[in-house]
Amino acid sequence: MTILEVDSVIKRYGTETVALDNVSFSVQPGEFVAIIGPSGAGKSTLLRCINRLIDVTSGDIRFAGVSVPQLRGAALRRHRTQIGMIFQHYNLVNRLSVIENVLHGRLGYKNTLQGILGLYSEQEKRDAVRILETLGLTEQMYKRCDQLSGGQKQRVGIARALVQKPKMLLCDEPIASLDPSSAKVIMDTLQDINRTMGITVLVNLHQVDVALHYAERIIGVNKGRIIYDGAPHALSNAQIYQIYGSEAGELILDLKERYAA
């Protein structure tokens, strides 16, 4: 049983740029997958096609048995509620409190009036509080988000995704703006969510070492094509060169060796 099937997806921007060039893969429930590749490889584009923030040009994506490219209106919104998304820049409403931002994760389940007025049930509020507790944000609950550190903001972002009760998380470079120790906290949190809650995680990463450390499976992308799809330990140096090009590949391997030493 697969939860996500990406089938011959092509995404063009305009007539020139081919961001995704015939991409196919499938993901089992509960997998932790890292997508790596150089800037402009199409990683963000791929994640955004999965929750339909952008439309594919051709090909099919099936999530939990439902074909995504055809979804419209209420069905599309229902699809999105099942997938949480986490962003490099957290994408919070900075002027609002932590708890309000977290509850935004429930808006996908609301009708128009409830949505406009921001009416949340007692149960939803309790869930939000509990999730903030597990993420260690109890004391920040009523603070405005612009008073938080980067690492705390990202945890709010994760909490907002979790109140959706998602089947899958899409993380677009969740640690690219964080210092190493906050980055570790975030990656550990994602791993914990994946293991204890059984939520499938797809994460775009720039740091190959982090990807190799956390992921059960690596998908390497270059110029919109999948170069590598398999276990981290089977990823050869030659394949890293192929994904990143020779010079950047060299640097990455250097770092990797220093880590191993």
């Binding site: 929750n51 923030l53 599309l76 919104r77 229902r78 699809h79 999105r80 509620t81 997938i83 949480g84 998304m85 962003f87 820049h89 957290y90 994408n91 919070l92 409403v93 900075n94 002027r95 609002l96 935004h104 994760g105 429930r106 808006l107 996908g108 389940y109 609301k110 128009t112 949505g115 406009i116 007025l117 921001g118 972002g157 907002r160 995704a161 959706q164 899409l170």
Partner: protein
């Protein structure tokens, strides 16, 4: 380039600039046959005349209730037109902003409309509207309304794209509907700026409303016009003093509100 050469060129540039300004001023004086010495001599005379005539006399003070009533009318008109126009302006901005437009086609018409409204001056709007509404309160109201609408739309389009692009993307990803995204993320994110601009427009519009009132024969502007043309300079002066006082009070209040919300 040597430093001396650089500074020599700088000095030459300044000198040239000074020469051009002098030439323009002198040319202007010659063309308009404006007598500078006489103009300067007139200033003290103008002051003493103003002091003699513009001190509110007893007649002026007896007219105080009527002046205050008209002043209130003008202030309310400015506040009403500013706030109502701001609501519509926000709506138009939501249609025009890249982040919140329902369809890319909405953007250009919304922005173009705002541009037209804003670039026609309030006095010109008043003249245009005189044809449809005559000398009535509506003319002034709509003149202020249109200018405010254009202005608020213009500034809010930028604000919306600046402060809410990221959070809109996040809420779209949760499956939230369009109206929920607007009310839960876009509006909270840009409300402080909106309030600040509305206060600014209220300040501006009280001043404009006074001038427009002279044209349309309404409000405090009408009273000023009336008194001035009847040589009741004392009363006209009281009108001016009170208007200035009100403008200052409103400015103080709105500065305070701004400090609190921003």
């Amino acid at each position: 380039m040597q430093p001396e050469a650089f500074f020599r060129r700088r000095r030459l540039q300044s000198l040239l600039f000074l020469l051009i300004i002098t030439a323009l001023t002198y040319g202007g004086i010659l063309m308009t046959q404006f007598d500078v010495t006489q103009g300067l001599m007139a200033i003290p005379r103008a002051f003493s005349w103003a002091i003699a005539n513009f001190i509110p006399d007893e007649r002026a003070w007896s007219r105080l209730p009527r002046i205050l009533e008209k002043l209130q009318e003008t202030v309310l008109m400015a506040v009403a037109s500013s706030s109502i126009a701001s609501v519509f302006g926000l709506g138009l901005a939501l249609l025009g902003a890249n982040t919140t437009r329902p369809h890319p086609w909405f953007s250009l018409p919304a922005r173009a409309l705002a541009s037209v409204f804003r670039n026609i001056d309030v006095s010109v709007w008043a003249l245009i509207l005189l044809f449809s509404f005559g000398q009535s309160g509506f003319t002034g109201f709509f003149a202020l309304f249109f200018v405010t609408l254009g202005f608020i739309t213009r500034v809010m389009v930028e604000t919306i794209d600046e402060v809410s692009t990221d959070s809109v993307e996040a809420l779209r990803a949760t499956g939230a509907g369009y109206t929920a995204i607007i009310s839960q993320s876009v509006i909270p994110a840009c409300l402080p700026q909106l309030i600040s601009w509305v206060l600014y427009m209220i300040e501006t519009n009280i001043r404009s409303a006074t001038l427009v009132g002279i044209l349309t024969g309404t409000g405090i502007g009408f009273l000023f016009d009336l008194y001035f043309k009847n040589f009741s300079y004392g009363s006209a002066s009281l009108v001016v003093l009170l208007t200035v006082a009100v403008v200052l009070i409103i400015e103080t209040v709105s500065n305070y509100v701004r400090r609190v919300i921003l």
